[in-house]
């Protein structure tokens, strides 16, 4: 092999691997990305049934119901809109009415959000940042008060 051929082989394999990587990333980004919405955004965007997404907000006070077995239902609210969520399984340690929550799943035809996982990622204020942002967007939570607007958001309207 000449010098030139050796160099070409090197460059060729580099481009090959790079092309493979770019192709995989683009392909994966198309189908495997999950959007995060608050209840209001969900209503605005008119999300159809079956679309996977993450729903974040506060667990509305007084809506948490234990069904038989390990099935539960509750409503996620940001003060303006509520979304009913159904979930089967164990809840994370920090799950509580009036606290922030992130549920991943999809709407069913009846408009109920079927969650297959409830996330327990919390920062020091026990409020997922996405939830805090969503609440700020809705004007439910101004500034960084240590005690977020759980009371107002959870209050029955």
């Amino acid at each position: 092999m000449t010098r030139k051929q050796k160099r070409l082989a090197l460059i060729g394999s580099a481009i090959g691997v790079l092309g493979l990587a770019v192709g995989l990333v683009l392909f994966a980004l198309r189908d495997n990305v999950v959007f995060f919405y608050g209840p209001t955004e969900m209503a605005e965007k008119q999300v159809g049934p079956g679309v996977r997404l993450r729903l974040g907000g506060l667990v509305k006070t007084g809506t948490f119901v234990h069904l038989d077995g390990k099935s539960i239902t509750f409503a996620v609210t940001d003060g303006n809109h509520d979304v009913n969520v159904a979930y089967t399984g164990l809840l994370p340690d920090l799950f509580k009415e009036g606290q922030g929550v992130v549920a991943e799943g999809a709407l069913d035809r009846g408009g109920i959000f079927r969650a297959d996982s409830i996330l327990a990622k919390h920062d020091e204020r026990y409020m997922p940042r996405e939830v805090a942002d969503a609440l700020k967007k809705q004007g439910q939570w101004q500034g960084d008060q240590p005690n977020p607007a759980a009371a107002t958001a959870g209050a029955p309207k």
Binding site: R7, S13, V17, A28, V34, F36, L90, L91
Partner: protein, 665 residues
């Protein structure tokens, strides 16, 4: 008073770091051996001052000095002593102090153990290291002062985040930081080489021990973090493709590529520019990880507090070092001499493919980690990129490595014999195929697990084919002097064999996760539940008092075929001060597999909701990482790779250079 001394020592360390940045660099330009020689005492003293400062902060935590804001926010007088000491780095300010401590330790180590290295290169490298110290010490003093006082001092503290009150806190951060920051040494040398404008094969020898050490620590740190998440989060998962985890995987991938390209550079003087680039990349990824974790752009247990000012400061550091080094690279790299060429089928060729795949995998993880952040900054849209993305991109890029790894080891330098190497792997491939059959018969579906496990067996066996061939050159029928040959083999050969096999062990553990059993049940006392080949039974529930929490424990037995083989005690802890609950999973290791139970609160009817898992071979995931680090350690203790060897090599090759070195030292 002690606190003020600590604060003052930190300021003094900053002054020393400034001197360390300027004086040796100036000395290298002015050819002043005395100025260059200052690098060593400056770096060492600076480390001592930071250590003193760190000790003062630890003292404040140990005696619960609640006049310190940092102690009030993160400690409690009833907290156990181990968490008072390790809790120092369980918060933003303290973890930056640990970062600075390890950074200056690295600076001192590189200045002290580098007598073999040409004086000018060392002087420049220590200067760059000094600039890193300046940046991070300034960051601590200006935005994250751990010594800020409170007046009046509260009587009690807010306690440490309960999730962090775990022995893992004592082990995981120091190991991870030694890995992260260890790459700063390689970075500084790369920057110095670019400043000096000359690199040769000896350069790879200088950086190899540091890279290897950082890589070992990073491997252990990541594995420890993964195991901690596994047993503390109660979900039975060990890797979530969380941005914070990715932040540690990125430098690991870049560092692994660097290790291999440095080997090519050392042996064959090829890939020089690429090696320099990887040295910059590895530490850049460490810095990026620090930015992601410490700036508060991410939500996680690692992001202690978000303060935009801190984020901007770290971003500034990031731009300065990554941008600066890449700019230097752009200016100087074209002028560096090209290395030798090689046939595509050769050890070098295989290592190039390794590097391509590793950096491509690194890039894929990078995109998946940063794309959501970029999108949010772009149009405010929030998305999450989860496991499916990474499985689809990282998987196909990493899988070829597993097949190629044993093959590459068997190829000769310069020009290899692909067919011959493949023939020598017949046995390993046979073991892999046999493994697939055995696993398919034992466990069956899913197919991915069977294939993965087979590939893992092939990799473990294949990793040792090379050393086996050197111990038994005439095959097993002529085993004379085998023991002597095994002893005579360089430790680095054993090291790479073990490191590769370790990856195989980890892969086996990962593949086996497909055969796991998961059950969510409401357990009643006395009833038995089948989990995999075992039966679990609740004997009783008790509650007891811990130092700063109360705990509800389920006492359970594990039975197999009716006889009790072990007891486990999963529990739920409730911490008073932060009014927060944590789960302590009950884990029992049985034949490298684990029974894993995490419980929820007791229901009104006395039943107990619980997750029960049987995870076959799961322990291999972390044992594999231990084997990898062991391999790295073996390689590190190879006599030929020690820094002292480089000195003898320099002396032998050029008397003039060694004279200059010894004058300077």
């Amino acid at each position: 008073m002690i606190v003020e001394i600590g604060h003052y020592a930190l300021v003094l360390a900053l002054a020393l770091a400034l001197m360390q940045t300027i004086l040796p660099f100036w000395g290298a330009r002015a050819h002043d051996a005395q100025l260059m020689g200052l690098a060593r005492p400056l770096a060492t003293t600076q480390f001592l001052f930071v250590a003193l400062s760190y000790a003062a902060l630890t003292y404040a935590h140990v005696v619960s000095d609640f006049s310190l804001a940092n102690v009030v926010e993160n400690s409690h007088s009833a907290k156990p002593m181990i968490y008072k000491i390790s809790g120092v780095w369980g918060n933003h300010e303290g973890s930056m102090m640990l970062w600075a401590l390890i950074l200056t330790l690295c600076g001192a180590a590189m200045a002290y153990f580098s007598r073999a290295i040409p004086a000018r290169l060392l002087a420049d490298a220590v200067s760059v290291q000094g600039l890193l110290s300046v940046s991070f010490l300034l960051f601590i003093l200006l935005t994250s002062n751990p010594f800020a006082r409170l007046s009046p001092a509260p009587l009690e503290g807010a306690d440490l985040n309960p999730i962090l009150q775990d022995p893992g806190l004592a082990i995981h951060p120091p190991l991870l930081y030694l890995g992260y920051v260890g790459f700063s040494i390689t970075f500084s040398f790369a920057a110095a080489a670019l400043i000096g404008g000359r690199i040769d094969a000896a350069f790879a020898r200088y950086i190899r021990p540091w890279t290897l050490a950082a890589w070992c620590f990073l491997t252990l740190g990541i594995a420890m973090g993964s195991y901690w998440a596994y047993y503390t989060l109660g979900w039975g998962g060990f890797w979530f493709w969380d941005p914070v985890e990715n932040a540690s995987l990125l430098p690991w991938l870049a560092g692994t590529a660097l290790l291999h390209s440095a080997a090519v550079m050392e042996k064959r003087e090829a890939l020089k520019i690429w090696t320099i680039f990887l040295a910059i990349l590895a530490f850049s990824m460490s810095l990026l990880g620090t930015f992601l974790v410490r700036s508060g752009v991410l939500t996680s247990v690692h992001a202690f507090a978000s303060d935009p000012q801190r984020g901007m400061f770290i971003l500034g550091i990031l731009v300065l070092f990554i941008g600066g080094s890449l700019f230097l690279f752009m200016l100087r790299a074209p002028a560096l001499s090209q290395g030798g060429l090689f046939a595509p089928v050769s050890r070098e060729g295989a290592l190039v493919v390794n590097n391509l795949l590793l950096t491509a995998a690194c890039a894929a993880v990078f995109v998946g980690t940063l794309y959501p952040l970029a999108l949010e900054a772009w149009n405010g849209g929030k998305i999450s990129v989860g496991a499916p993305f990474f499985n689809l991109t990282f998987g196909p890029l990493f899988a070829p490595l597993i097949i190629l790894m044993p093959l590459g080891q068997l190829l000769a330098w310069k020009r290899g014999d692909l067919l011959g190497a493949a023939q020598r792997l017949f046995f390993a491939a046979g073991c892999g195929a046999g493994g697939m059959l055995v696993f398919a018969a034992l466990h069956g579906a899913p197919v991915v697990s069977v294939i993965g496990a087979g590939a893992a067996v092939y990799l473990i066996v294949g990793s040792f084919v090379e050393v086996f061939g050197r111990i038994f050159p005439a095959g097993l029928r002529a085993p004379q002097h085998a023991l002597a040959r095994a002893r005579g083999l360089p430790l680095s050969s054993w090291g790479s064999a073990f490191a590769h096999a370790g990856l195989g062990v980890t892969l086996l553990g990962l593949a086996a996760s497909g055969w796991g059993v998961e059950k969510i049940v409401s357990m009643k006392a006395g009833e038995a539940y089948d989990v995999g080949p075992y039966q679990l039974q609740v004997v009783e529930m008790t509650s007891q008092q811990g130092p700063n929490y109360k705990e509800a424990t389920a006492h359970m037995t594990i039975k197999r075929n009716g006889s009790i083989i072990a007891n486990i005690e999963p529990s739920k802890r409730f911490f008073f001060t932060r009014r927060m609950a944590t789960s302590q999973a009950g884990i029992e290791t049985l034949n490298f597999g684990q029974i894993y139970v995490s419980i929820a609160e007791q229901n009104a009817d006395g039943s107990l909701d619980a997750r029960l898992y049987w995870k076959p071979l799961v322990a291999l995931i972390w044992l594999g990482a231990l084997v990898m680090a062991f391999g790295g350690g073996l390689s590190l203790s190879d006599r030929r790779l020690r820094v002292g060897f480089a000195r003898r090599a320099v002396k032998a090759s050029s008397g003039k250079a060694s004279a200059a070195t010894s004058n300077a030292s």
